[in-house]
Amino acid sequence: MADAAASTKGDLTLTNLVKEFGDFRAVDDLSLVIPEGSFFALLGPSGCGKTTTLRMIAGLEEPTAGKIAIGSTDITYAKPYARPVNTVFQNYALFPHLTIFENVAFGLRRRGIKDVKEQVTKVLELVELAHLAARKPVQLSGGQQQRIAVARAIVNRPALLLLDEPLGALDLKLRRQMQIELKWIQTEVGLTFVHVTHDQEEAMTMADTIAVMNEGRIEQMGTPVELYESPKTVFVANFLGQSNLVKGKVESVDGEDLNVNVHGNRIVVPANRDFSTDNHERSVLIGIRPEKISIEHPEANTLGGGIITDISFVGVSTQFQIQMPWGQELAVFEQNDGGASHLQKGDTVSLSWKPQFTFALDGTADIDAGTSVNPDEE
């Protein structure tokens, strides 16, 4: 392990990274720092540039401009085999002609390590597949292949482990299980993980920090809680979970609060949750997550006169679609604790929520940004 690969450690720094394919700008002036040892997710719809970013970090694409560094070592133009970076590929890309043991030993052998048995066995035990060492990849199930792909990468103890939609090919139940296992493995081995996914739930479950990408840029970066509770753009508000966004006009700023006129109703938004960047005299979008709204209990913020157009029961909660007097449909999730069970389609209701859950975004933004993308499309 005396090679450059193992001695390079530290934070991953991307500086003004640009990648163009012909006229198309896949990654647009991207800068970020991924702290050593963190579990970082690049989240976004297909075509947002997240996989291209990952491939540039792996060395499989050369940036058009910008810089990639691990610690103080510049790796922007280093060959893929000369970087302390390993990748778990989307469809695993295991070597079909080699046994599981040799697949895992591949990287060690290439670095001239003679006695690989102990390390390979150890990592196969970590992913609980030591008994399959003599098999070929085709003899394994999708979930097992996935774990071998992880084992093949982490056995090298890279400074950085890249995961390119590693769970995309698995069914939902297995995916949930693997999310927990991957998170556990990351804690166990203490490597920096950079995980690319279009699945917002997956990103939120696993990552310490998420960067939401859209059209080659980072929309917002933060912890899952920050991104969910305080989305700073319409795209993030819609892409991560679901948001109700309603146009309003700021009428006055009253100390710590903004008073917003929303179709004739006075809605209070805490000033520190006003994320709009425009002049306050102009319009804003006020946002509220569906599960924060109560149909029964009056709160400071209330929008009245809604008519229930749809009710769907989803186990832990019931989801209501409510048509507001100005024609817009809003979503409300009520816990199934008996409170809202008497409500019927066609009932007229008022929607209430606490001001501290409200957020305000730019009124000029496209209200549908981040909703039309199908998160399951590749």
Partner: protein
Amino acid sequence: MAFVAAVTKRSGAVRGIKRPSTPYLLLIPGLAWLFMFFIYPLINLAGTSTQTPADSGEVGVYVQSFRFANYIDAFSGAREQFLRSIIYALIATLLALAISYPLAYAIAFKSGKWKNLLLVLVVAPFFTSFLLRTVAWKQILGNEGPVVAVLKFLHILGPQAGLTASAFAVVTGMTYNFLPFMTLPLYASLERIDPRTLEASSDLYANGITTFRKVTFPLSLPGVVAGTLLTFIPAAGDYINATLLGNPRTKMIGNVIEARFFDIVDYPTAAALSFMLMAAILIMVMVYVRKAGTEELV
């Protein structure tokens, strides 16, 4: 009673449908073909190979006398050509592999939108006559041709030397003629390789050469085996190239069989030689495929 009979009949019909006889039925035409045009002639040939001339002494008339010494006689008479066939075929196969591999690799991985055109070009020579293409090499390698002119200019060939009617010309012709049989299976196996496995290899500290040695080549091995067999087997039995491009000292086993059969009308010797060629090729192929299967060729 009528009801019972009807039920029995129907269940019988159902059983008839369920029985998986269709695959066997589909095999019949192929098996019949194989028997008529392969098994039967092969038995016939085996029979002929142990015959001796009839007592009447009439040319071309032989009687069965189970004389297995025919094989020894045939082999001792054609040992030189036998060995030459194997060597020429091996050289032609290796040359074809050396030329085809980079070509197939380029078509599979680097050709982009030109892929189909290049594949058509590989097959295109088949549209003209095999004989004409072989004769054309006489012109190409002829004393007035471009190859000799260039080699003489570079002083690789002496002023009096030529290339035609030589072992070189025969092997060149064979290499050329069997090239597509090498290129196409190689292309097919290279094209199937998932480029991500190559990326994975470079991600796992293997440089270009190591990736080729450890991943690309092993994964293309089925194509290498298929291509070398499709080249070596017909090349070992070929006589056209030796006839048109060679001289009396480049005769191959195919030439001997042809002469025995048509000129001397010595059917038993021709049959015995054919059998020995077949056996030799079979043994070599079996050893080769076994080695390839365990990846010892890598």
